[in-house]
Every structure is written in C-alpha cells, then in structure tokens.
C-alpha cells in the first residue's frame, strides 16, 4: 500500500516548550493509524503540527509526495486533509445545516453523496438540521464534527480523541461510524481508549515525550502486554 502521509524527524515548539522532539511516522493509504501514548506525550500536537496550527521548526511532513510543513493551515486543508479536533470545534451559533455547508467546499454530486452518506450514518444530525450547534449534546457535537470533516472529499482525516467525555453507548456509535468510514478514507486517530483504538486501528505508533518510540501492526500491540504496560500504563 502506498504511503500517503509521512513525518520525518518533526520537531515543534509551543512558546518556549519543546513539545515534539522527533516524530517520524508513515501513514498508509486506506488504513487507520492510531497514535497512542500517555497524556501530554504530544499526540494532539502531532495532529496540530500536520495541520499547520502549531508549525514545525524542524523535519519534513509529506502528503501525497508533496512537502506541506511550511504551508498555512487553510492550504493544508485544501490539499485534502480534514481535522476533527479534541474540543469538536462546533460553531455553536450556526445551525447543523450551516455547520455542514460551511465545511462543504462545493456542492458537487460527490459532496452531496457524502453528505447523504454521513446523514444516514448520524440520523440525529438530520433531526436537528435547523438547530444551532450549541444546543446539541456532547455526542451529537462529536458526530457533527466528524461529519464536517468527512463531508468533503478529504483523502485523510485526523481525528483527535473522538471518545473523550462521551457516554459508552455514544462511544460505540462513534466507533461504528469510524469503522464504516475506513473504507472510504485514510484515518489518523488519536485515542486514549485502547479498546476502541485496537478495534479500529490497523497500525499504531506510540508517542512518548514527544518522540515516536514504537510502531507496528495493531495485532502486535494487542498481544504485547509488556509494551502496553510500559508506554500506556495498561495491562
């Protein structure tokens, strides 16, 4: 399978803090790559650095064989990378419809097809179509956030902790939707919930102190109790 996204020795500072100190990873097309690690390890910053929200100071980020590390955020997004942030980033005063329409780059048949698909996946969004985003529940906001990133023909989705703060039943729904989307787009997922990560993920990278320290097929991690205990604090 071809490499869609590649990070080579990427370093990022936030203010005076040296957060990413050498991230290297490869994301293969059509797979779900999960970034794992303890709190504060640098997983979210990795996604933000790919998007250009926290620009890197060293290293290269290649997307579809094109270097993107010096591009502004909107150009990175225009290349076909969708981002679902940890805080969902819903526009609370815009309706569900407006939230999705703002995200849609065009109204082509393909976009409409994707919109129909995502609305079937999340029927709650259809139900609250004309309601302001701020009135949605936490789970519905997460669905809207994922829908917004998916509705465009993005080749790669960066999803940051989609299960955070959600009730187990909603987590299940979100997980099912990501599994469904797997066939249509490449995904980089940051997830603390190991059960969810191991169910969805094809390959994993463990980030520790701003560096990628382990990687491989998800099956390997599932069977390696020692590695899980050492880097993730779970048996």
């Amino acid at each position: 399978m071809s490499i869609q996204l590649k990070l080579e020795d990427v370093e990022t500072y936030i203010g005076q803090f040296h957060i990413l100190q050498g991230i290297s990873l490869e994301v293969r097309k059509g797979e779900v790559t999960v970034l794992l690690g303890r709190n504060g390890a640098g997983k979210t910053t990795t996604l933000r650095t790919i998007m250009g929200l926290n620009p890197s100071t060293k290293g290269t980020i290649t997307f579809n064989n094109e270097e993107i590390q010096s591009l502004p955020t909107y150009s990175v997004a225009q290349k076909g990378i969708g981002y679902v942030p940890e805080d969902q980033g819903i526009f609370s005063e815009l309706t569900v419809e407006e939230n999705l329409k703002v995200a849609m780059k065009n109204e082509s048949d393909r976009t409409k097809e994707r919109l129909d698909y995502i609305l079937n996946l999340f029927p709650d969004l259809k139900k609250f179509w004309k309601k302001p985003g701020g009135l949605l529940s936490g789970g519905q906001k997460q669905m809207l956030s994922i829908a917004r990133a998916y509705v465009n023909d993005n080749e790669l989705l960066l999803i940051d902790e989609p299960s955070k703060g959600l009730a187990p039943i909603v987590v299940e729904k979100v997980m099912e939707s990501i599994i469904e989307m797997k066939d249509k787009t490449t995904i980089v997922l940051v997830e603390q919930n190991f059960m969810m990560a191991s169910t969805i993920g094809d390959q994993f990278y463990i980030i520790d102190d701003g560096q990628t320290v382990q990687n491989g097929a998800m099956e390997v991690l599932k069977e390696d109790d020692e590695m899980r205990r050492k880097y993730l604090g779970i048996a």
Partner: protein, 336 residues
Amino acid sequence: MRKVKSIFVQRKNIVYTFIAILLILFPFMNDSRSMMILFTQVFIFAIFAMSYDLLLGFTGIVSFGHAMFFGIGAYAVGIFMKQFEPTLPYFLLAVVITILITAIVSYVVGLLTLRLKSHFYAMLTLAFASLFLVLAEKWRTLTHGNDGFTFRTPELFRDRLDFYLICLVSMIVVFLLLNRFTNSPLGKVLQAIRENEQRTESLGYSVIQYKIIASVVSGVLAGFAGILYSVSLRFVNTSVFTMDITLDALLMTIIGGVGTLIGAIIGAGLIEFAHHWLTELAKVHWIFERWIIFFGIIYILVVMFFPRGIVGTVRNIKMKSKKRVIEKSEQQKAAG
C-alpha cells in the same frame, strides 16, 4: 417546526414592513421639523452602526478606528461640493471617490493589521484613525482644520423632507443588502470566523481574506454614512474623525444587540433619542447637560445584565421558550 419558523419569519417581515411604512408616512403626519431632522440622524447612524455590526457582530473584529471611514465620506463630499459645483453629478462623483478611497484604505489597513490579535488590531485601527484626524487638522488649505467649513448641497438634498426620505430608503436598502450578505455562504463563513478562527482555517478558509472582505464592505458603508451625515449638516469639521464617532457606533451596536443588524438600527434610535431628550432635560437640571455620564451608566448596565443587547436578549428568551416547547412535545411523544 419549519412551519412555525416560516410563520415567525413572515410575522417579522410584516412588522418590519409596517414600521417602514410608518416611517415613510411620519413626516406627512407630523410637521415637527426637529423630529424629522432627528429621525434623519437616526437613519444615518443606523447605517453607520450596521456597518460596524458587520465587523463586530458578524466577524468578531473590534475596531477603534471606524470613524476614519465615516470621516473620509464626510470630507470627500464636503470638499467636492466646496471645490466644484454643488450639483448631482459632482455629488455622485464624490460618492464614487468615497467608495474607492474607503475600499482602498480598509483593504490596506486590513492587510496590515488583521493578522494581529484582536486587541493589537483595535489599537492599530485607532492609530490609523488618529492619522486621518491629524491629516484633516493640518491640511488647512483643503480642510480648514478644526474649524471645518460649510458647503452647499445639490438641489435634491436641500428640502428636509426629500432628504429624510433619501436617508430612510438608504437605511432600508443597506439593511436588506447586509441581511442578504450575512445570510449568504460568505456571511456564514464570517460568522464561523467570529466563533472559532482556527477551526475555520482548518476547514480550508483563508481567514485573513475573509476578514478583509468584511472590513472593505464595512468601510465602504461607513463612508456612505459619513457622506449623508455631512450633507445633513452641510458642514464638516475634524469631529467626524474623532473616537467619539466610533464609540457611538460601538454603543449603538452593543445596546441594540450585536450580530443582529436590526439591533444596530434600534441602538441608533435609542442613542440619538436619548441624546436629544437628555439635552432637553438640561433646562430642568444641570446634570443632564452631562448626558454622556448617563450613556456610560447605560453602557455598563447593558454589558453587565444584557450582554447580547436588546434584540439578542429577546431572541434568547424566544429560543429558550421554543426549546422548552420542543422538550415538552418530545416528552409527551415518549410517554404516549
């Protein structure tokens, strides 16, 4: 639910149309010249406040230099009417020049400053406005400095009734245009920027370009309000560039309700009428001469208790009651 909303929109449109008809008929039913002049001022400041609302309420940009566009419009028409003939073609030429200058200035100022964080942007716009104030004070051969100058206006604007109607129609047209603009896809992107700049950027929008568009549209409209203002007085001096003018727009927008457009009109009405009545009350007690104190108190109270302004608060109450109705009906459905 859609039916309820369309009934609500229809009712709102009927109320707006009714008020517009009342305002058109007002000068024919009431012969008070001072009231007609007061209403004319309200219409002009409503245009100015709506232009500010586009920045503050719809895009989340706080500008302390909005008076510079108002002043450019006021001086452009004043200078044209004074230097050339006070005829309609020259007036229209002044309008075109105002549009060009305000568009260029707002574009350049926006390009230089809108990349900055909001408070730095606000301070820089204040600096740019001060620059225009100093220019107007020092370029005496053209502006007559602080003293300003009077000028004659085209025949069309000399009659107070005609001018009242022109200002009213201008306000209605600006309201309709801005209403359309803010409800367009571009307007929705501006509202998304107001809510979360980074998020909008990561959806693929160049935030700076959209902010500049809002700044240019807002600047041009403020310049147009400045034109009408100086024509109404047939006089212009450096006061049109002062911070007071920007503060008026800020007060009108915040008291009426930011991000609503109609709030800016209501705010303009309230401020202008309050100014008028409080000044009249100066005969009763000297404290009313210092009407600005009362504005300060009103402003503090509004920000503390009605941060969304009059229209925003009313909309909030309506939204809450709608939410309650929906919840109730859903509960009934679940029980049934």
